[in-house]
Structure formats: structure tokens, C-alpha cells
């Protein structure tokens, strides 16, 4: 057994990052890599000053050549989205979000059909409701505290990006409280996949308040081990978001 130098620093063992940097189905395209990273930065999934994995590790994770990855990073550098520092302690860091996150979200969701949206909501309802039901049986005092903080973060969110992040973290905490590693991973993957929809939905303050109110009731049901009610509240919260998303899509995603 050996320890490795900093070159092998583990920056991929967080599942969110493994989802973000998952291998591309269409190999060898620098544009596809740049697009995936651009979307993650635009939606705030990757935050300003966040260090990306080394070029070697990132290319291996995307299943592309280091040359292709460098082409993708060059494209992102030219757009001002990442900065690369050379030397010890260096690496590629996120420079900042796109100025128009709403526009980036619309570009991301524009290809979603009504069936795609329904399918995503169905999956989200399944993961959320079962996480809630299991959490009501298995959650600990510490989980209650984390879920309470999650609801507060959503209630206090000042914009769509903060609200999207608070919602995402709440559902991941809920899945963690179910004590199921598989549900947790499914939830993380789903939150990344649904991020652009949520960003657009949460531009609407009334929707944010409706969902946070339901999540407050859900958290209480989990705390009091009311299994069926916890599942029902989770499903209702998902349905509020899905209804708003369907309305937005019907108006070309342009109403605020």
C-alpha cells in the first residue's frame, strides 16, 4: 500500500462529481465536454473557485483523450468560465457563473418534450416519496436537524439558483435519512438531471413558498414517524414543481 503524491488527489469520490463527469456516450467530442461543464457552471452546480480534477483524471472519467479535454478547457477558458493555474497547487478552477443563468436553463430544457417532463417528475416522485417513507422509519435526531436546516435554506433562498440548490440538498438529505445508499445515489443523479427545470420553476417565488411549506410538513411527519403522510407530502411537493414546469413549457419557458 502506498500514498500517492498530490497528482492523485481524490477529487472524484463525491458522487455528485462522478455524475457531472460521467463518461460521454458520444466519445471524443470536445464540444460535448465543454457543454456539460458549461451547464454545470451556469446552474451553480460547480461553484466559483471550485477546483476541477486534474486533466488526467478528468479525461479518464469522461472517457476521452487528454487532448480532447484540453480542447474543451480551452473553449471554456476563452468564454471566461474557468482559469488554469500552473505549478504546484495549481489546476483548473471555475471562474464564475454565466451572466444569464435563466437563458442557460432554457437552452438546457428546450429539448424536453411533455413526455420527458412527465417521466422526470414520475421518477422524482418515486424517489422522493420512498425516501420520505423510509426516512420516517429510520431517520435519526441528526437527520431531523439537517432536514430542518434544508427547509430553512429553501424558505430563505433569495433567488432561483439558491432555491434550486436548497431543494436539491434537501432531497439528498432525505434520501440519506432513509439510510439507503442506492436511493441516495439515485437522488443525487436526479437532482443534477433536474437542475435546469428547478432553476426555472424556482424563479417563481410563490412556487418556492408552496414547496417549502410542504417540505416543512414532510419534515414533521418524518420526525413523528408518520410513514404514509411523509410519502404523501413528498409526492405533493414534487407535483407542485411538475405542474409549474408543465405551465412554463406550455408558454415556451418564457413567463416568470
Amino acid at each position: 500500500m502506498n500514498t500517492r503524491p498530490e497528482r492523485s488527489l481524490d477529487l472524484l469520490s463525491t458522487f455528485t462529481r462522478r455524475v457531472l463527469f460521467a463518461p460521454l456516450a458520444d466519445q471524443g467530442r470536445a464540444g460535448a465536454v465543454a457543454e456539460r461543464l458549461r451547464t454545470a457552471i451556469s446552474l451553480g452546480i460547480l461553484a466559483e473557485n471550485e477546483l476541477l480534477p486534474s486533466e488526467t483524471d478528468l479525461a479518464a472519467q469522461f472517457n476521452i483523450s487528454p487532448v480532447t479535454l484540453r480542447d474543451a478547457l480551452t473553449e471554456l477558458r476563452a468564454a471566461g468560465l474557468v482559469t488554469t493555474r500552473r505549478g504546484r497547487g495549481g489546476g483548473t478552477v471555475v471562474s464564475g457563473p454565466l451572466p444569464d443563468q435563466r437563458r442557460a436553463s432554457i437552452e438546457e430544457v428546450s429539448s424536453l418534450s411533455s413526455v420527458d417532463l412527465r417521466d422526470l417528475a414520475d421518477w422524482r416522485r418515486t424517489i422522493g416519496a420512498e425516501s420520505a417513507r423510509l426516512a420516517a422509519r429510520r431517520a435519526s435526531e441528526r437527520d431531523f436537524t439537517l432536514l430542518d436546516r434544508g427547509v430553512e435554506n429553501l424558505e430563505n433562498a433569495s433567488d432561483a439558483v439558491d432555491a434550486r440548490r436548497a431543494d436539491s440538498r434537501y432531497y439528498i438529505e432525505l434520501a440519506a435519512a432513509s439510510q439507503s445508499a442506492r436511493l441516495s445515489r439515485a437522488s443525487i443523479r436526479l437532482q443534477v438531471e433536474y437542475a435546469s427545470v428547478l432553476t426555472l420553476v424556482y424563479a417563481h417565488e410563490t412556487t418556492r413558498k408552496s414547496v417549502s411549506s410542504l417540505l416543512r410538513t414532510l419534515t414533521l411527519a418524518v420526525r413523528e414517524a408518520r410513514v404514509d403522510e411523509a410519502g404523501r407530502c413528498a409526492a405533493q411537493a414534487v407535483d407542485v414543481v411538475a405542474a409549474r414546469a408543465a405551465t412554463l413549457r406550455g408558454h415556451g419557458w418564457e413567463i416568470s
Binding site: M1, N2, S8, L9, E50, S184
Partner: protein, 241 residues
């Protein structure tokens, strides 16, 4: 369901299981005490203010963490986290994990505006031993944005905690391997369960009492006898219908 043993023999089997379960993690806590001694020599006041441990200190800590991971058969990761008591949102964490046959440093994301943000100072493995002021074994939990897997964490507060800084050294255990061993140790005393401080099952010999579930929700079962594992903050119980 009852086991093949009578009440006295089951009690003896439970006592044997208690000794063996404590012995399972005793080497882990020995390693943690050595890591705490190391942590006590580090420049943590500076590190908690800047979020960065000076390189010579990292090397010292790494040696102790690697020794723990290499020698402790259940350990999959180990490290140290510290926060200033005045500014709990600023702190430092250095962690190493087993990846294949190598031990590599793990870099957590500490930017609150990132989706991968690891809010370690609010994690149970940090808060519970800090509050108890003594070695603690954290019952199985999913460590979101850390391991992202079901994890059991052994943790102890470092003596540095007295100087305006809360310092925890900790080791993640292979939860599946640990639970497998505990289930085998419990089997002679069946029906029996290992429960945490909240009376939630860590492991049991009863199918419907799965890991994580509150004992009170198992309507058909009552506690017949109980042994407190003071060092772990957990208990072993004999069950009866």
C-alpha cells in the same frame, strides 16, 4: 422466535457478544488516540483561520492516518477536522481514503455555493463526539457529499479542543463488513439486537428489525434484557415476542 438457548445461557451469550463487539473497534480507537496525539502538535489556530494546514503538519498527520488505514482492517478512510469555536463555518479538514491498494488524499468541496459542499462541521461524526467530549461510534448513516455511502464512523475529540478550537480525529469503517461481523456475534444470543443511543437498530438477528429502524416501531418485539456498551454509547438487547 426464540433461540436454542435458555435465558441464562442467552444472557451469557449476550455478554460474550458485548465483549467481542467492543473488541472489534478497540484497535480503531487506539489508532485514533495516536492520531489525536499528532493532531495536538499541529498549528490548528492558523489552519482553522486559513482553511489550510501547513505542509509539514499535513505530512505528520498523513503518516498517522495512513498507519491507521493500513493496520485497521475495517478502516476505509481517516483524517482530522477542526473548527474555531468563534467561527464554526470556517475550518480545516484533511482526509485520506483507501482507493484500490493505495491510500490517497481526499479533497472535500468546502465552498457553500457548490452542490458538492461538504458541511463537515454540522456532520454527526463531528458534532456528536464534540458534544460528548469522548470517543464515539456513529451508527450507520449515509455520509452525503463525503463517502456518499452507508458509513460507520469512529471519532474522538482531540485535546486541542480545549484551546478555542474543536478538533475531531475520525475513521470511516466498512459498514457492510462491520455489520456482517456483528450479526454473526449476535447470533448465539438470538433473538437479539445491537442498538444505538436513540434505540435504533444497528444490527439484529430479526428479519423485520433492519438496520436503522427504531426498536419502538417493531410492534411484535419487546426488550427482555439489556447490556449497555458504555464505551460506544450503544446497547445490546435480548428480544422476546
Amino acid at each position: 422466535m426464540t433461540g436454542p438457548l435458555g435465558p441464562l445461557a442467552r444472557r451469557r451469550a449476550l455478554e460474550d457478544a458485548a465483549s467481542s463487539i467492543v473488541a472489534l473497534t478497540a484497535p480503531v480507537f487506539e489508532h485514533l488516540h495516536q492520531m489525536a496525539d499528532t493532531a495536538n502538535r499541529l498549528r490548528l489556530r492558523e489552519a482553522t483561520a486559513t482553511g489550510v494546514l501547513p505542509p509539514p503538519d499535513v505530512e505528520l498527520l498523513e503518516r498517522a492516518a495512513v498507519a491507521a488505514i493500513r493496520d485497521g482492517k475495517l478502516i476505509t478512510g481517516a483524517g482530522m477536522a477542526a473548527v474555531s469555536e468563534q467561527q464554526v463555518n470556517v475550518g480545516v479538514i484533511n482526509w485520506w481514503i483507501l482507493r484500490g491498494f493505495d491510500v490517497v488524499p481526499k479533497r472535500h468541496v468546502l465552498n457553500p455555493r457548490s452542490d458538492s459542499y461538504y458541511d463537515f462541521s454540522h456532520s454527526r461524526w463531528f458534532q456528536v463526539p464534540a458534544e460528548r467530549g469522548r470517543p464515539t461510534l456513529i451508527a450507520p448513516y449515509v455520509d452525503s457529499w463525503g463517502t456518499d455511502d452507508l458509513t460507520i464512523t469512529a471519532a474522538i475529540p482531540s485535546p486541542n479542543s480545549g484551546a478555542g478550537i474543536t478538533t475531531i480525529v475520525a475513521a470511516d469503517l466498512d459498514a457492510r463488513a462491520y455489520l456482517q461481523e456483528v450479526e454473526e456475534l449476535l447470533w448465539p444470543a438470538r433473538p437479539a439486537a445491537l442498538i444505538d443511543a436513540e434505540d435504533r437498530a444497528v444490527a439484529s438477528t430479526v428479519a423485520e428489525i433492519e438496520t436503522g429502524v427504531r426498536l419502538t416501531s417493531a410492534d411484535n418485539w419487546a426488550v427482555e434484557d439489556r447490556i449497555d456498551l458504555v464505551d460506544l454509547g450503544w446497547s445490546l438487547v435480548l428480544l422476546t415476542r
